[in-house]
Amino acid sequence: MSIELKNVSKVFGQVAAVRNVSFSVKDGELVALLGPSGGGKTTVLRMIAGLEVPTSGDILIRGQRVNDIRVQNRNIGFVFQNYALFKTMNVFKNIAFGLKVKKWKKPDIEERVQSLLELLDLKGMEKRFPHQLSGGQRQRVAIARALAPKPSVLLLDEPFGAVDAKIRQELREWLVHLHDDFNVTTLFVTHDQEEAMEVSNRIVIFSKGNLEQIGSPREVYEQPSNEFVARFIGVMNVLEAMVEGGIARVNELEFPTPDLKNGEKIKIGFRPYAVQISTDLALYRYRGVLRHTFFLGILLRLELELPSGQILRSRITKEEYAILGLKDGMEISCQIKQFRILSTENATLTAEITPNLPAPLPLGEGI
């Protein structure tokens, strides 16, 4: 285990920022700490770094309890959200700072800095000052500076928060490649679930100071442990329903819930991909109108309106859309092939329910 947290809590004044959090990170893993702002994820990162002291609980790095070890001696690399580059030093001196502190010899420093400059595509920038760099370059200098003294753990706080979308994508790829090259255990904080899903091996999800779930991107997407996770990771349709005679109803929609009592109020959740669409109005149970199409690239998100005014979000591929010949304003039929009963937050979710429904026509049938 590279990093281990045991029942760690942090209280600021009256506010509990982190509550009884335990998790561990294996050697060489790339882990995302994900959650909405104020969720406690940055506080967890800063406690691992030693920039905050936990109110209770233990933090272990490579099996050694580090609660009482000062930041300077923890051998971690930390990348700050706004980079915190030394603005009075040029790029070379920024990267060399940690090496000078560790009393490396001059030629060794030179060699190490040069190799990092090359690796991070910063060659020729040695003499520039932070204010002469673009956002992406500053970020890479910050990463190079943190990596220079060969830390055992690399910690990044919202590393891609302050750059624009295109550079962000590049930096994500950088991070994955760097992680592969250095194989240093890496934790990064983000509020962007897409970023967490794309970059990390595992995701730790926080909300209001609590650890909600830890798992691989696929696990947290497909098997969310509670409503918060289910709603936070990816898009989800959430409807409030009332159970009557083993069926939960929301407007014209009906969901079979044989195990629930009459009169019980529940929340039903389903992913957009679970909403199947056809232009054959007789094929599926519900009728609706395609109100709007959102282009997300290879995938399209559709907003469907049922006669009652109920809005459903669906998702299909560009090819499917073209084959079906869909257009905004068109009448369609649809069904929901899978759904979940979302009870209260924090409660464990029951498994997904797949009602017995007609299968969609295979693409290209009838040609």
Binding site: V71, Q72, V101, R145, A146
Partner: protein, 300 residues
């Protein structure tokens, strides 16, 4: 023909440049002339007159009046006062700015207000306050008498009141800089293994360097030019407890106008140099900020 065309073009561009919020030209030019008139009448003319009066009776008189023993001793005393006051002010300013910008503690806003006190209290009152504390009949008077230490009517007193009146200069310059810089750079230094000492000298100090220089310039100008507070605690003995401003005053009262203005011209030159350096630093920081705003092209 061509001239006509040009005037039409000019008229066109004037109309295009005029914004909806702009005042009429009459208001605009009245305000500008008023401001310039006041500046010339109340600032520039008196300043120029200092130099005119100083050199009025010729260069020889000017140099002689500076070589006068009492004037010389006034210059030396003034330099001494500044030499002690300015470093004290830097140390205090750094400590206060650091405390206010980077820590949260009870009474922080009180300290912040207290720093400004010397700006709002009349220097004469400041001098009187020190007499009440260190004078013969003051709180520490008997103690100081017993140990034969002279504070009031002597150099230490002059230094004390000067420290008081220049108190806010460096701190006021540094607080906004340190507040905007925050503590992230220091934290970054810590995560890289640096200790407090190295962090201060290599990270904190360089980042507030201009603020310190700027504060020192202002502090120095004020320390050398302080009159009110110093005149209260100095016995105004020529050759002993006279600083440059006091010396100018007494020369003027003795109707030695040329000598008074010769000394005054030294203070005026000092002020002008301070202003020039200050303007240069402002220009420099502005340029640096503009540069920081510029996005440098990513090399492909």
């Amino acid at each position: 023909m061509a001239g006509n065309l040009k005037s039409i073009q000019r008229k066109g561009s004037e109309i295009a440049e005029k914004r909806g919020t702009e005042e009429s030209p009459v208001v605009k030019w009245t305000l500008i002339s008023l401001a310039v008139l006041f500046a010339v009448l109340f600032l520039l003319l008196p300043l120029l007159n200092v130099f005119y009066q100083a050199f009025h009776s010729g260069l020889q008189v000017y140099l002689d009046s500076l070589r006068d023993a009492d004037s010389k001793s006034a210059i030396i005393l003034t330099l001494k006062v500044a030499a002690v006051t300015v470093p004290l002010n830097v140390i205090f300013g750094l400590a206060a700015a650091w405390a206010i910008a980077k820590f949260d503690f009870r009474g922080k806003s009180l300290l912040n207000t207290l720093i400004d006190l010397p700006f709002s209290i009349s220097p004469v009152v400041a001098g009187a306050m020190y007499i009440l504390v260190y004078g013969v009949h003051g709180y520490f008077g008997p103690f100081l008498m017993k140990h034969d230490i002279r504070v009031i009517f002597s150099t230490p007193g002059i230094i004390l009141v000067t420290v008081f009146t220049t108190f806010p200069f460096v701190a006021r310059e540094l607080i906004p800089i340190m507040q905007s810089t925050g503590t992230e750079q220091e934290q970054a230094a810590l995560t890289l293994g640096a200790g407090g000492f190295r962090t201060f000298w290599q990270v904190t100090l360089p980042s507030v360097k201009w603020g310190i220089i700027y504060g020192v310039i202002l502090c120095n100008a004020r320390a050398m030019g302080e009159f009110g507070a110093v005149s209260v605690v100095s016995a105004n003995v020529a050759g002993e407890t006279q600083t440059i401003p006091l010396r100018i005053d007494s020369l003027y009262l003795e109707s030695k106008t040329a000598a008074a203005f010769a000394l005054a011209s030294i203070l005026a030159v000092l002020a002008l140099i301070s202003m020039a350096i200050k303007t240069y630093f402002e220009w420099k920081t502005e340029r640096e900020e503009a540069l920081a705003q510029m996005v440098v092209e990513e090399p492909s």
